[in-house]
């Protein structure tokens, strides 16, 4: 269940919660509650990481696109380092980022076509952090990836991704949930152009066949749109993810070396930040002109990604620490109204049901 925190300034309040763990007493309490043995080095490591993360995030908020991805990447790395130490009760042993960027050859390519190769599944930072978030995938086995693979898997910039790169779909299938008296269904809207791409993406969703019935098609007469109908199986595992705005979606895996790999949303953003940060740091000849004079519109997508990463990554990490699903919103609290106005038909149905149940009880009592 999602716990909603009502606040005038969600970002500040979120960090106020995280900064609790920049205090030794709170860190000690957390470690004791989770049956870990606190020691001075561990506590200092955690508190220092959280404090530094906050500084990087604060700086990033006001920094230019020239350096903001780098700042955000470092801030998130600190945050992940501190969270991993807190949840595992020990300082992670990390020797490198665990990933290396690799520029494509030739000129005039999109930033999203920057390549990345993963290394050191034991001591690389990315793999350590993946494991702390219950993902044991060894990304070193799959060869070269592109930034595009990760950007296309981020729900919040899905539409921007498709527009910017003229792609039919990304690796995200946004769902429209319909609940009516006829039942509960989830819809994916499609056009003639992207229908087959959507079906192909559905096949790449992990555990789709065990969670959903075979998709069928339908038509919305009100909007004259076609859609794919998805029905969850009885008692199935919920494989839907929730976007920042609360809309559910299915994440299609990425096929590498014949394997379908699904990476958690947090790390799609984190790896994207690493690639962009690396370009900032080591290839200013590419990043500088991109940040100043991009003509393709890709810069807008990157800025949007930066905004959501800054807003979402601390929230996801805080949820991990609290083992809860919390969201910070600016909406004012609204009382829950349980009074329901029913129509005549519903009243008659209720009366019939009650009479039947009373009748049945009478028979059973007689036995």
């Amino acid at each position: 269940m999602i716990e909603t925190i009502f606040t005038e300034n969600p970002e500040d309040d979120l960090w106020r919660e995280l900064l609790q763990y920049s205090y030794k007493a709170n860190v000690t309490k957390y470690l004791n509650e989770h049956s870990f043995s606190p020691n001075e080095t561990l506590i200092n490591s955690i508190t220092g990481s959280i404090l530094q993360a906050h500084e990087y995030y604060s700086a990033c908020k006001h920094a230019n696109l020239q350096i903001s991805p780098l700042l955000l990447y470092y801030g998130t790395t600190n945050l992940l380092f501190g969270a991993t130490a807190l949840t595992s009760g020990s300082i992670p042993v990390i020797k490198s980022h665990g990933m290396n960027p690799d520029l494509p050859t030739g000129k005039n390519y999109y930033i999203a076509e920057t390549n990345i190769v993963f290394s050191d599944s034991e001591r690389g930072g990315i793999h350590n952090f993946l494991k702390s978030f219950d993902c044991n995938e060894d990304l070193t086995k799959y060869g070269t990836w592109q930034l595009k693979d990760f950007i296309s898997s981020i729900a919040e910039i899905n539409n921007d991704y498709q527009r910017c790169y003229s792609e039919k779909i990304g690796n995200v299938l946004m769902l429209d949930v319909i609940k009516s008296q006829s039942g509960y269904v989830e819809r994916i809207y499609y056009t003639n152009d992207n229908y087959s791409s959507i079906l192909e993406a559905i096949r790449r969703v992990e555990n789709f066949n065990s969670s959903y019935l075979k998709p069928s098609s339908g038509h919305d007469h009100a909007t004259d749109q076609d859609f794919i109908i998805l029905r969850p199986k009885l008692n199935s595992v919920n494989i839907k993810k929730k976007s920042f705005f609360g809309q559910p979606y299915l994440q299609a895996g990425i096929i590498k070396n014949g394997h379908t790999i699904s990476i958690p949303p947090l790390f799609n953003m984190y790896i994207s930040l690493f690639i962009m940060g690396s370009l900032c740091r080591y290839h200013p000849e590419i990043w500088g002109p991109f940040a100043l004079t991009d003509e393709t519109g890709e810069r807008l997508l990157v800025e949007k990604l930066m905004y959501y990463a800054r807003r979402m990554l601390p929230n996801i990490i805080l949820n991990k620490l609290y083992s809860k699903d919390m969201t910070y919103v600016t909406q004012r609290y609204i009382e829950k109204e349980t009074i329901k106005f029913v129509n005549e038909h519903e009243v008659k149905e209720l009366i019939s049901q009650e009479l039947y149940l009373r009748n049945q009880h009478n028979f059973i009592d007689k036995l």
Binding site: S182, Y184, G218, H221, S236, L367
Partner: protein, 400 residues
Amino acid sequence: MSFRTEIFNLCKIIQQNPESKQISNFIKSLSITVVGNDSPSANNFHQIAKHSHNQFYGYLYANDNIKDYLDIFPDIRSLATDEIQLIAIGHSTIVKLIHGCLNDISSKYPKICKAMNPYWNYKPIAQKYEKANTILNDDDYHKAISEFKSSALYQKLFTSTTIELIEKLPDNDFYNILGSIDKEINTCPVSQIPKIIDDYYTGLHSNPISPHITILATILMITAIRKSLTSACSLLFTALVGNDLIVLNNDNIISFDNISKNLLYSHYSLTTTDILLNPATNTVGDIALIDCTPSSNLHLHEFGIIYSHTANFTRDMGDTSNLTLVAVDELLNPIFTLTNNIISQTFPDIKTTTPQQIHASTNIAQTKKPKISRNDMCPCGSGLKYKFCCGKTNNKGSQE
């Protein structure tokens, strides 16, 4: 082992027999013959032959009486000799089970034996069809018949003090009560209790239990045994025509609309997709298996008879079927909740009850022949309206 288990064994034997493949291929081809008009002629056969548990009977009856239906279904065709033979084999395979189950009582209690036959209300067809070869041999039937005869319900009925009285009841009284019970149970919604059952339960609390209640209990047992044989025939028919048992599980059930239990039925109402949407098929009367896990702490494994089937073709929510099923127990008996109650009761000995008392008690049930409207479905089970069937030659009438 149980009667149900043995029936499923028979179904497996049938499915492995090459002769049943011939029958199923023919039946399936009959449904798609097109003679260049809007309604394929074979569909007319379907309409006439539509019985929930033995369409072979329907095909044979329709073939023998084609001239009576030509004005209603002008494109109907007569079956060729080899086609008739195939259908007769299928029919005979089913009826041989019934005859085997009822042979012990047919000479001693012919009226009761007839009332326990699933086709008791049907118009007769040519005897040669009933004597055709069968796919199964005598040994195959033996275990199923033994289980049937050793069942608690069968034993209770034939060791009761009332069976001889029932056999001696005037025909009109007996068939009226039987018809009344059938009509009440068949027309009452599965979520409700028929009035006749209500009266029966009320009567159980009187002390002593009246002859009327005792007789009613006996006739209910006869009805239950017939329903048990009907379910068995439905399964054998499914196997003979090559249809698979309808399986409803997590892969095709969308939701349970209602799970409830009353004194007659355990009742399931659910929404499903995929397998039941062919408008040319009618699944009412078919036996289905519900094998699913609706929630983490409930697993269902129930055999049920499909009581109603509504197909919803909607582009908004997708195509679905709404099904209502009643559970059948080990004996394939859909009213086992009631019969288990009867089996556990000790009824008084009413051998010394006078014929006047019997007559008076049976008058409490409906003694008048229920009036059949011209537009009602014909009670002989042909699937036609009464005015096109037995109502045409109303001197014959039905046996209800």
